[in-house]
Every structure is written in structure tokens, then in C-alpha cells.
Amino acid sequence: MLFRFISPKTSQKIMKTVFWASGILTIIILIIIIGYILLEGMKVINLEFLLSNPVDSGREGGIFPMIISSLYVTLISGLVAAPLGVGAAVYLTEYSREGHVIKLIRFGAETLASIPSIVFGLFGLSFFVVFLGLGWSVLSGGLVLALMALPTIFKVAEVSIDAVPESYREGSLALGSTKWQTVYRVVLPAAAPGITTGIILGMARSISEAAAILFAVGAAITVPISIFDPGRPLPLHLYIMATEGISLENAYGTAAVLVIIVLIITIVTNTLVERYQKKMMGR
């Protein structure tokens, strides 16, 4: 060991500096990326950019239909993946005992999480678009994204539910509640902050995804009205604008809007979750 030759005091100092530097570096990288995108993007962002349709494939005009498409697919993915993920987590933590089936479900979720998003995209095309006949639509896109958000939501929900003290469950059951009443009235409310964070993490992944929806939503630049209409969410728009050399300025504008939406969602949920936790724990 290298540390054998230096005094404990010195090694303590060195390691403290190393950890401090890693922390600072992480923040600096984050600030540089977000700062650069915002700086570049802000040049084109104004109310008109946000609220008008693109003109000439996006060289001019705004990104209103893309914002709506993004909200559509993200909301659909959340609405589908949240109940499924939380439901599976409840089953695993509350209703089952450790065994082969449980291991299989957990393994399945982990595998699902590691599949490349473009593969999801391909699956989305053949299953939702073609086989189920949903066509190129925000619904197809939302469903593919639901599959991608599912493992995140499931995993975070499982950990949060598992962290609810056993004494809460015992207290509830001893008062003559059924298992379901205990889950619904005590366990889920106690795990709600963690579960919410998981759902937001999953949806943040959905809103940022381009490859997975590439073959599922179509690329229409009109505002999707029904869930069966095609759309073009922000990341996809960004991808097309940049790779086809349409307008790098507007690509940055789109990226900045995307980043701002994600930031707003994260900050708002964190604030709400903290407030709820404070109320719950009486601090």
C-alpha cells in the first residue's frame, strides 16, 4: 500500500482533497453543459419561438408543436409506467416472499433497464406501430417511453417501500387492518416521497429520449391533437435539426427549452416532496 509510507495525517489530507475535487468537478461539468446550452439557446428563445409553428422545416419559426408532443409522450409514459412500476414494487415488497419468481421479476426489470434505447425504438415500431396498429402517434411513442421508464420507477419505488419501517405495518395490522388497508393507508403514504422521485426520474428519462421514439411517433411538425396523431417531441426535433444541418441555432434553442422543462419539473417536485415530508414527520 502506498499509504504505508506517509503519515495518517497526510493521507487523510490527500484523500479529503481528492474527494473534494471529485465533488467540485461534477458540479463544474454540470454547470458548463447547462450553461453552454442555455447561453447558446437563449439567443433564439422568445415568446414567439415557444408559441409558434416551425417554418421551412424549422429553419424559421418556433417549436410549439414539439413542446406539446413532448408533454404528450411524457405524460402518457408516466400514466402507464407509474401504476405498473409501483404495482410491481408493492407486490414484491408486500405480497411475496423471496423466491424464484421474485428474483425473475427483479432480473427482468434490471435487464429492461440495460437495453439500449434504439432497440426499444425498433420494438416500438414493430409492436405498437405495426402489430397493435397504433400507427405513428404520440400514443405509440408514449408507450415505448413507458417501457423505458418502467425499470427506474419500479426500482426506486421498491427501495422506498422497503425502507418503510416494519413497525408501521405492525401497528396498522394490530389495529385490525387488512394487508391492503395497511399498504394503502400507511405504507404508500410513507413511501410517497421516494415513489414520487422515482416517477419523476422515469419521466425525466422519457422526456429526454430521442432514439426510442425515432420510429414510433412519426416526425410530424403539426400540433398533435389526439393521442393517435403523430408528433415530434423536442429531443427528436433537436436530433433532426442538428443531423440534417437545418439550423444549429434553433437546435440549441430546442435543447435549452428541453433543459429548462426538466429543471422546472425537478425543482417543483423536489420542493413539493420536501414540504410533504416536513408535514409528515412534523419538522
Binding site: 413497525s167 408501521y168 405492525e170 394490530a174 389495529l175 385490525g176 403514504p189 412534523g282
Partner: protein, 250 residues
């Protein structure tokens, strides 16, 4: 009259034989203490009385437990109904992370009592019975987690009596509390025994003499001796009881 009668109770967790031929009668509206060294099966015993052990895998029992003359392990018995009649207060105060009001109202809601006036009245009554009302009446909507340990334990007692059980099981209810809070809980036990049958597990022998009329001494999963508390402490019949209460082991 006896509220609970236990006959030849044997309890196993997988292969481990935890309770051996336990026989005890627990009379109405009295306090019965269960004493004995750690790991002697007191807690396991008390948890068979409201079937909390059903939740643990590998639990198996032989023998009978009668509540008001009815075997509580009959397949026809609804565990939910049983636990409504046999309430439990745990070692560590375990209020729910909800408001003080919602904690006490919890049992009522679970059992389908939703009428607002009835619930409010019962919550107030229960908090008064648990000698907590004066301390919390102005902050019923605040989280129960903000209360002190002793207040939390009295809240758990209030929560239990809100659903009007016949029996209250207490599993070392004071072991996590300071002496003043302990005195308050003991005073409360004296008050509650007029209406409820109380079975209390305690490590504290002074506590057993202070609160209970009857005491049973558990050792290695067996009841060595049981009877009137003063008799058991003043003139124990068994040598092992004498050794334990004089502090020679345990």
C-alpha cells in the same frame, strides 16, 4: 371470569421450539404481567394472543387459546375481528407519520366508521383516556412524529383504545421511555384496567409489582410459576423464580 385461557400451548418457528406447554388463565379487567429474562418467549407468547405471529414464516402452534370461550385459531375466526378485540402496544412507540388526529382516527376509519362527529368524539375520548388530550388538543393536525417518546407511546395507547378492544397487549411499553414518561404510562395502566384486560410484558420487576395483580414467570419458553403478583414476589414456590426475582440471573 377469565378473558383468555391458554391450554397446552406449544409454539415453533421452523424447528425451534419456542413455547413449551404454556397454560395460563388471564382474568377480566385486571393487569397480568409476564416477566422473565430476554429470549424466554414472553414476546412470542403475547404475539400469539392477537395472532401477530401469523405474519412470520415458519410459525406453527399446537394447543388452544380461548378468548371469551372461543378458540382464536379456528379457521372460521376473522383475524381482523380478533385484532379489533385484542389491541396491542409495542415496545418502541410506532405512531404513523400522520397527524395526531389521523393516528387515533386510523382504527375507526379502517373499521368503516367515517361519520365525522362520531370520529371526532371518539378521538377526543380516547386521547382523554390516554391522558394525552391536554397536551395535544391544540395541535391535533400536527404530525405525531413531533411528539416526545412518552407522548408517542400514550398516543399509541389512545389509538388502540379508540377501537374499543377488550384486551390490550403491551410488549414492554416503557422500555424506550424515561422514568417520568414511565410513571405516566403506569398511572394510565391503573386507570385502564377498570375497563380493559391488560397483559403486559416487562423486564422491570418493580413495574410488575406496581401495575399488576397477577404475574407469570417465563423461563426457556415455559411458565415456571404464575399467580398473584405479591405472592410470586414475596413467597415464590419455585427455586428458579426466587433466583430470578432476587437477581441471581437474567
Amino acid at each position: 371470569m377469565n378473558r383468555i385461557e391458554v391450554e397446552n400451548l406449544n409454539v415453533y418457528f421452523d424447528e425451534a421450539h419456542i413455547l413449551k406447554d404454556v397454560n395460563i388463565k388471564i382474568p377480566n379487567n385486571t393487569v397480568t404481567s409476564l416477566i422473565g429474562p430476554s429470549g424466554c418467549g414472553k414476546s412470542t407468547f403475547i404475539r400469539t394472543l392477537n395472532r401477530m405471529n401469523d405474519l412470520i414464516s415458519g410459525f406453527r402452534k399446537e394447543g388452544s387459546i380461548f378468548l371469551d370461550g372461543n378458540e382464536i385459531y379456528e379457521p372460521s375466526v376473522d383475524v381482523v375481528e380478533l385484532r379489533k378485540k385484542v389491541g396491542m402496544v409495542f415496545q418502541k412507540p410506532n405512531p404513523f407519520p400522520k397527524s395526531i388526529f389521523d393516528n387515533v382516527a386510523y382504527g375507526l376509519k379502517v373499521h368503516g366508521i367515517n361519520d365525522k362527529d362520531v370520529v371526532e368524539e371518539r378521538v377526543e375520548e380516547s386521547l382523554k383516556s390516554a391522558a394525552l388530550w391536554e397536551e395535544v388538543k391544540d395541535k391535533l393536525d400536527k404530525s405525531a412524529m413531533g411528539l416526545s417518546g412518552g407522548q408517542q407511546q400514550r398516543l399509541c395507547i389512545a389509538r388502540t383504545i379508540a377501537i374499543e378492544p377488550e384486551v390490550i397487549l403491551m410488549d414492554e411499553p416503557c422500555s424506550a421511555l424515561d422514568p417520568i414518561s414511565t410513571t405516566k404510562i403506569e398511572d394510565l395502566i391503573h386507570k385502564l384496567k377498570k375497563e380493559y384486560t391488560i397483559v403486559i410484558v416487562t423486564h422491570n420487576m418493580q413495574q410488575a409489582t406496581r401495575v399488576s395483580k397477577y404475574t407469570a414467570f417465563f423461563l426457556h419458553g415455559e411458565i415456571v410459576e404464575s399467580g398473584r403478583t405479591e405472592k410470586l414476589f414475596m413467597e415464590p414456590e419455585d427455586k428458579r423464580t426466587e433466583d430470578y426475582i432476587t437477581g441471581r440471573f437474567g
